[in-house]
């Protein structure tokens, strides 16, 4: 077996993930390389979900009975865990949403309804980048259409990086918000936060960072990032579906208006008017995703016990190996950075003129699960003149042997369509 420096003990880790033992088709063992779409869920997290429903399930915040108190403590305890995980200055800055997309839409909507100085209107500008996930494009297109604000974006260089050469023209005094992805889900690129934040601060624009592909894979420190908001999603970091996070600076969360209205987010309600609870509750209307938040807390415990720095190291080693091996495949072109520097563990590529859909299908027949398509980042495909890509993405349980299986599988694809 290939040995690389910095690898985790994947043999032990893989025992925590029952699904990795699954056998597909006629005896092919699952090679799961679709982690950028969603990660698998360890037994430790599943046990917490079951225990919650078997022992503590109740609606939170509003009860004096034991179950309600336990459920509330578990739910709010999960908030503490997430706050610590991202080094938030205060637990009250952690808002639970249903996914990263809601987190991003939440910010867009808050700014659309905000008072000055935050308000986005027809005299202001919004800045994103060409490598955003659709979930960080469409909310801003909608906001721009609905307020008249101008939507601008950073383009990409040929090697899959942000083109910041015109940063002073893109981010101007009119810019109210700059929203960009920390690690691209299609290119794998890790973006230079500091340069963007510095310019945004210069002009007094708020910064929202989409950390959906970062939070699962590397230590995340919202204070070090110096952003105003950070969004990510539970199902990509060993947590369940149905849970996302928005972190925001406390003063902003105090000043900004609510988005969804309803139970839990109020202070007092009469038919004529209502006042709102302080953040984070102001932004959590209705019964929150209680068991999902608790399970995310368990996922955070799981990841922390292994160590986010160790996970990053492991993925870096795997990525380095994968880039090297993929570059040996004839006719294969990596879309995105072609080294392992400043990149995450998602690698997109095209294979000659074989359509990714066909690549994915033939790989699947061998038990290898990759994603094909535009990966919710169609502008990137347009930018590089390709209809779609095939993407392999790794996580803490990925092994060099799985990289080898992918490379062998691609050989098979080439023969099949050769």
């Amino acid at each position: 077996m290939t040995q690389l420096p910095g690898l985790l003990d994947t043999e032990a880790i893989r025992k925590d993930f029952p699904i990795l033992d699954r056998v597909l088709h006629d005896g092919k063992k699952l090679v799961y390389l679709d982690n950028a779409a969603t990660s698998q869920t360890p037994r430790q997290v599943l046990d917490v979900i079951t225990e919650y429903y078997e022992q503590h399930n109740a609606n939170v915040h509003r009860g004096v009975h034991v179950l309600a108190e336990e459920a509330t403590e578990l739910y709010e305890g999960a908030r503490d865990k997430v706050a610590e995980f991202i080094n938030a200055p205060s637990r009250d800055e952690v808002i639970f949403t249903k996914n990263a997309s809601e987190s991003l839409n939440l910010v867009a909507n808050m700014l659309g309804w905000a008072d000055e100085p935050y308000r986005v209107d027809h005299e202001t500008e919004i800045v994103i980048t060409e490598m955003e996930h659709h979930s960080n494009i469409v909310p801003w297109q909608l906001l721009s259409q609905r307020t008249g604000a101008k939507l601008k974006w950073f383009g990409l260089t040929d090697d899959g990086r942000l083109d910041l050469s015109n940063i002073n023209e893109v981010i101007t005094e009119k810019t109210k918000i700059v929203s960009f992805v920390l690690v691209s889900n299609i290119l794998g690129t890790l973006n230079p936060v500091e340069a963007i934040v510095r310019r945004a601060q210069e002009v007094g624009a708020l910064v929202l960072i989409d950390a959906s592909q970062a939070a699962p894979h590397m230590p995340l420190d919202v204070q070090a990032l110096q952003a105003d908001f950070v969004a990510f999603t539970g199902h990509k970091m060993c947590g369940p579906t149905g849970i996302g996070v928005l972190w925001g600076r406390q003063e902003l969360l105090e000043d900004l208006p609510p988005f969804l209205g309803g139970g839990e987010m109020i202070e007092t309600v009469s038919m004529n008017s209502s006042t709102y609870a302080p953040a984070p509750h102001k932004f959590e209307a209705g019964t929150p995703p209680v068991s999902q938040a608790i399970a995310l807390g368990a996922a955070v415990d799981y990841l922390t016990a292994i160590g986010m720095d160790k996970i990053a190291q492991h993925e870096h080693a795997i990525t380095e190996y994968a880039v090297k091996r993929l570059r040996e495949v004839p006719d294969l072109r990596i879309i995105g950075p072609v080294t392992a520097e400043d990149r995450g563990a998602a690698i997109s590529f095209v294979l000659g003129d074989i359509h990714p859909h066909d690549v994915g299908q033939v790989l699947d027949e061998q038990g290898i699960a990759v994603r094909v398509g535009h990966h919710c980042a169609r502008p990137v495909c347009l930018r590089y003149g390709i209809p779609a890509t095939t993407r392999a993405s790794f996580y803490l349980y990925s092994t060099p042997a799985e990289v080898d299986a992918l490379v062998d599988g691609l050989e098979h694809v080439r023969n099949f369509f050769g």
Partner: protein
Amino acid sequence: MKLDSMYQEVILDHYKHPHGRGLREGDAEVHHVNPTCGDEITLRVKYDGSRIEDVSYEGQGCSISQASASVLNDLLVGKDLAEARRIQEVFLELMQSKGKLEPDDAMEEVLEDAVAFAGVSKYPARVKCALLSWMAWKDATAQALGEDRESAVRKSA
């Protein structure tokens, strides 16, 4: 091997050597995409009364969607609309059969090369690829004949 049931020789042939590809003059043009995977097709129909004079198309997509457009061109050009509709319906039925329909002689007579897509119907994600051009044709026809613009209307951002 299961894969061979999807990638029949006939399909790979049409994929590599598509029939009637390219955009020519038409009475109506539609652009359809498969949001799942980004497959796209631009398709034009030309009618001579109720006779299909031409179906021309451009697009990008996987072998299944490309081959399917090629087969469509083969099957429908020159046919009368009523006949074409029947072919389309039989093809739709086959594709929605989840691999449970074994094409019989009657079906083969109607669908010709298109029976090769029977294996694709086992793969839900690919059924949409196979149907892309057929849905586009249906839509373009409705527009050309001014029957029903409903399905062509999509809210646009």
